[in-house]
């Protein structure tokens, strides 16, 4: 178990990379840290590893307070964002290095290294040095080095960022299976929301050194707590439209929609609906956003249509064959059961049923 309390990291230059952060990660959990570049993911991971000393707050691993414990005694394994392989050692020695430090006999650690390398399709390059490997291969060596020993915690800093799409999917499946087998608590940094949704038991969305929301992939995807999380999660960003409450009607971008209970007359709201949950109608409707078709992007099995409504853009995913013509008038119809209403910066509860 990893527990962080009031964790703050201010770098010497005055950058507050992690800000008063509280987090509990359960034993054996696969936990993803998700957020835009520069939000403090690497810093948080390094603080858990012990490579950064927190400015204030505590770090606990497995029930013990390790805030001042050196990294080597925290029993964690880390994959660095830039791999940090040993340039003078070949792949086998790189993977076996943590075992060597732990004084594992040579034959045993070499066997272990070879087995781990095989699982990551590295068997053909065991005697090469990092300088003779591609970026993706180096990344897999870094991953192999971390998983060859059996630590209490895995800390992965974007371990799949340099792999091609196919390898990435393979490595993803491999990681998930490995983590299930070993049941090692894993913190996984990524800025790929698809990866986080696919892999994690729970996800934390970070921004500016703070946690915006922590929850299961389903929670995060279906009920993002803030407009920021809503716009960050999902293959296509959610439509977030400003609107007003008048009586029991929401007036949003030219549409009149039934207001959920609990809102007061005159409230300003943000209406959120995913493009996947937005349909197009060719004829006028009261509960739809009127506009003209401005852009059409092919997604393979569907099209992403962008509608210009005044100065706001609304996106909708339209199945093959139903594409409207560019420049024609269209009405974007939100599926109200899937829509979210934010007042201020928070999700308004209850959600429209």
């Amino acid at each position: 178990m990893i527990s962080l309390h009031g964790l703050t990291k201010v770098y010497p230059g005055g950058v507050c990379a992690v800000d008063e952060l509280d987090l509990e990660i359960a034993d054996g959990e696969f936990f993803a840290l998700l957020g835009p570049s520069g939000c403090g993911k690497t810093t948080l991971l390094r603080t858990i590893a012990g490579l950064e000393t927190p400015t204030s707050g505590t770090v606990g691993i497995g029930g013990a307070d390790v805030t001042t414990t050196p990294p080597g005694r925290r029993d964690v394994a880390m994959v660095f964002q830039d791999y940090a392989l040993f340039p003078h050692m070949d792949v086998t020695d790189n993977i076996a290095y943590p075992l060597r430090v732990k004084k594992t006999p040579k034959t045993e650690r070499h066997a272990k290294a070879a087995a781990t390398a095989a699982r990551l399709s590295l068997s053909d390059m065991l005697t090469r040095r990092p300088g003779q490997l591609s970026g993706g291969q180096q990344q897999r060596v870094a991953l192999a080095r971390a998983i060859a020993c059996h630590p209490k915690v895995f800390l992965f800093d974007e371990p799949l960022s340099n792999l091609d799409a196919r390898l990435r999917l393979e490595a993803r499946t491999f990681l998930k299976r490995l983590q299930r087998e070993l049941a090692v608590t894993t913190v996984f940094v990524t800025h790929d929301q698809g990866e986080a949704l696919a892999l994690a038991d729970r996800i934390a969305v970070m921004s500016g050194g703070r946690l915006m929301q922590v929850g299961t992939p389903t929670e995060i995807f279906q009920r993002p707590a803030t407009p920021f999380v809503a716009s960050f999660i999902g293959a296509t960003p959610m439509n977030l439209l400003p609107g007003d409450v008048r009586g029991d009607v929401l007036h949003v971008a030219g549409a009149a929609l039934p207001a959920p209970p609990g809102l007061t007359d005159g409230d300003h709201i943000t209406y959120g609906v995913r493009p996947e949950y937005t349909d197009l109608s060719a004829s006028p409707r009261d509960d739809a956003f009127p506009g003209t078709v401005a852009v059409m992007e092919n997604l393979g099995t569907a099209n992403l249509v962008t509608i210009e409504a005044g100065d706001t853009l609304i996106q909708a995913v339209v199945p093959e064959g139903d594409e409207p013509a560019l420049g024609t008038a269209a009405w974007a119809v939100p599926r109200q059961a899937r829509a979210l209403v934010y007042t201020g910066d928070r999700l308004h509860a209850p959600i429209p049923a």
Partner: protein, 310 residues
């Protein structure tokens, strides 16, 4: 130019390029031949000739140069040459090995981030910047009978006379002077090691000692080897320090360079050239063995590292 066109023209262009390269290098090669090859060859030639007045077989006085065969090399087996060779070798082995240890330590200290690091780096280099003649005199003063050295150890040792103590004095002074050079080259090697590599070792739980032996040292090896090569060749030709510190024609500190200088000042150009040739061969042999044993690896390391860095 498009990539395809480039590839098609490849071989011809490369031939043209190497011709251009040869053309542009030729002035340098000519100058090198003039100032390096010619003196070298003429010294070797000189070592087979003798000059000055002698009587020929018929009792006539002859002047000028005459071919002497290997006569000039007869001294190579003599006690003085062997002694000078032994001194030179001793100084080289002793100073270079002490300097490597001290230089690595200095580099590790200089590499640490702390306040006043720039000042420390500059001051560590002072011994290297001082002219050898000056530092030789300074150490002579330190090593005189009532000097600082004797005061500190509370003994009355006549450092600058003949004997083992003179050898020690030379080794101490030379080490003081050139350890900073090794330190600086090793520091340059340390600075190109990515910090993350140490962090990875720390997370793995490696001790400071393990990190030094398994990570730091192998990674600075190329820089260290270059430093050692330079220093070895430098030490094998040492002349000035023993001369200034102890004096000329001192048996216990006479190096090959000093012996050659002494023969030359006494107009024994033949033997001087012969010894010079021997010294040249000795240095060339050691450099060759060094590069053969360690050099290939050295170049490979540098290449790999450059790729990792890019």
């Amino acid at each position: 130019m498009s990539g395809a066109a480039n590839r098609r023209r490849g071989p011809r262009e490369r031939a043209g390029q190497s011709r251009l390269a040869a053309l542009m290098l030729s002035p340098t090669l000519v100058v090198l031949a003039l100032v390096v090859l010619y003196p070298l060859l003429s010294a070797v030639r000189e070592s087979f000739y003798t000059s000055g007045e002698t009587l020929d077989a018929d009792g006539f006085v002859v002047e000028g140069e005459r071919f002497a065969g290997l006569a000039n090399y007869s001294g190579v087996l003599g006690e003085r040459f062997v002694n000078a060779l032994a001194n030179t070798t001793l100084f080289t082995v002793a100073t270079v090995s002490i300097e490597v240890v001290l230089g690595v330590l200095m580099a590790l200290v200089m590499h640490r981030a702390f306040r006043g690091r720039g000042f420390l780096r500059a001051s560590i280099l002072i011994p290297w910047a001082v002219p050898t003649a000056v530092s030789g005199l300074m150490w002579r003063w330190i090593f005189q009978a009532d000097g600082v050295a004797n005061t500190i150890i509370g003994q009355q040792i006549l450092w600058t006379t003949e004997g083992v103590q003179a050898k020690i004095a030379v080794i101490v002074a030379d080490t003081w002077k050139t350890a900073p050079f090794v330190g600086l080259l090793v520091l340059a090697g340390l600075q190109i090691i990515a910090g993350e590599v140490y962090e990875a070792a720390r997370v793995d739980g490696a001790s400071a000692w393990q990190t030094f032996w398994r990570i730091t040292l192998p990674l600075v090896r190329p820089a260290l080897l270059v430093a050692v090569l330079f220093r070895m060749m430098d030490a094998l030709r040492v002349f000035d320090l023993p001369y200034v510190l102890i004096g000329p024609r001192k048996h216990s500190v006479e190096t090959l360079s000093a012996l050659i200088w002494d023969e030359a000042t006494r107009v024994h150009y033949g033997p001087a050239s012969a010894y010079g040739t021997m010294l040249f061969l000795y240095i060339a042999l050691i450099a060759f063995v060094f590069v053969k044993l360690l050099g290939a690896d050295l170049l490979a390391d540098v290449r790999t590292r450059r790729r990792v860095a890019s």
